[in-house]
Amino acid sequence: MTDALVFYPLAVMIVGLGILVITARSPVHSVLFLVADFLLIAALYITLNAEFLAVIQIMVYAGGIVVLYLFVVMLVNLKRAPEQHADSRRLGVIGMALALVVLVELVAIAYVSSTRNAAPTVARAVQSFPAGVRGGNTEELGWVLYTDYLIPFELASMLLLVAMVGAIVLARRSL
């Protein structure tokens, strides 16, 4: 009951802020709404007892990536009115198609996770804790990440490394 009391107001605010992000006239205002949205999503994580994820959400998204957005927005567009898109209808079609793909994906994930329970994997990993490890949120996450999900984790790190090297090469063609 209390969960619902917290969840639904949060969800309404998150969706509302999401709408404000795409309807705000000034790009800086949109970025600000996006920050508020990310903070509320962090609050949602806390209601799920995922404090570590919540804090990382604030640190990486609200505190890091959106600052870079703001940087770009401020450098590129100083208070100029947003231009009308040249061909708004075609962009609209592309947008609808993308939204549809995401919707199908979400429904598929919801369906799969309702039929096949992912919890046993985590429970098994938690049971295999060595005696020295305390059962905090962060420790459990680290344990699962470095045992059962080691290969996806390493792949993600490799991807980030490649992106980093690529960015440096692009920025410095004379290397």
Partner: protein
């Protein structure tokens, strides 16, 4: 009801008032120490030895006219100082002043990460304040500030990871406990990390020698050039509250928090007569004094030197320190 609502609210009230009052006195301390460093007397007129200057300054700021520039973005212009101050004050919720739960508002498992995350929100106040003023110098200053804060945040966060490796916990109470159990302050085990966090703290609070976002001689004041009255003083409060936060983090992580010196040598047990929170505040005072001392001593960095120091010196050292810590941890 009393335990979950009234007691925390009382603690929050005491802590917030304590922080805000200590900010005004910190400004006075800064003026006095710099004056002594320069063979001056500093403020002397208000009260004995100028002590009441700490009250006169806020009153002056409150009474001043609060101007909004004609072409400023009104909402963001008002929001920026608030976004700057609120994170600085929120951090105090997790700072422990003692082992007992009487001495902290909240003891969360990811305390250290919480501090890093919340302080990283504070940069918005600076960026938006400069942008919303619709003026050239504040905008330049806020661009400088955001680049500087992002760069140094990386170095500090990597360094904090090596301290987390040493203590084995993200919990601030746990970190101090680990120092008591180990019998030594982490400042001695991790001297490199200590220096890195201190330097990064100077840069993140825009203090000399990294005060480029507020370099008066180049930027006519910095991101708060267009601010006046109470909104200016909110920026001011945020800056000094952040300095207090950094000093508390350094004291808790590297100087043993509320532990008396030499926690493992029984000859020095008599030092424990002094309550822990006084030890912590004393250690914070030492760190604050060094902050002010540096301001009186050092010249300002050039901007490219600042960026080079952040990216080419501090981050590699932080990574090397992390690796060495990891190897030592595995070998031992």
């Amino acid at each position: 009801m009393i335990d979950t609502l009234v007691v925390p609210l009382l603690k929050i009230a005491v802590l917030l008032n304590g922080v805000l009052i200590s900010v005004t006195f910190l400004v006075l301390m800064e003026r006095k120490v710099i004056a002594w460093a320069q063979s001056r007397l500093g403020p002397m007129r208000v009260g004995p030895y100028g002590i009441l200057q700490a009250l006169a300054d806020p009153i002056k700021l409150i009474l001043k006219e609060d101007i909004t520039p004609a072409r400023a973005d009104r909402w963001v212009f008002t929001l920026a100082p608030i976004m700057s101050l609120v994170p600085a004050l929120v951090v105090f919720a997790v700072l422990p002043f003692g082992f007992d739960d009487f001495y902290y508002i909240s003891n969360i498992n990811v305390g250290l990460l919480f501090i890093v995350a919340v302080t990283s929100i504070g940069v918005y106040g600076i960026i938006l304040g400069g942008w919303a003023s619709n003026s050239k110098y504040p905008l330049l200053s806020s661009l400088r500030a955001s680049a500087q804060l992002i760069s140094y945040e990386i170095a500090v966060t990597i360094t904090l990871v090596s301290v987390i490796l040493t203590s084995g916990t993200l919990n601030l109470v746990g970190i101090v406990e680990a120092q008591r159990d180990g019998g030594v302050w982490f400042g001695f085990i991790q001297p490199v990390a200590f220096m890195l966090v201190f330097i990064g703290g100077l840069a993140e609070t825009n203090r000399v020698p990294f005060d480029l976002p507020e370099a008066e001689t180049e930027l006519t004041g910095g991101f708060h050039t267009e601010y006046s009255g109470m909104r200016f003083s909110l920026f001011f409060l945020a800056e000094y509250a952040n300095i207090i936060v950094i000093s508390a983090v350094v004291a808790i992580m590297f100087l043993g928090g509320w532990l008396a010196p030499f926690p493992n040598v029984s000859v020095f047990d008599f030092l424990e007569i002094i309550p822990g929170w006084i030890w912590l505040i004393g250690k914070m005072f030492v760190v604050l004094y060094v902050f002010i001392w540096l301001r009186a001593t050092l010249p300002r960095y050039r901007y490219d030197q600042l960026m080079n120091l952040g990216w080419k010196v501090l981050i590699p050292i932080a990574l090397a320190n992390l690796m060495v810590t990891g190897i030592v941890k595995v070998v031992l």
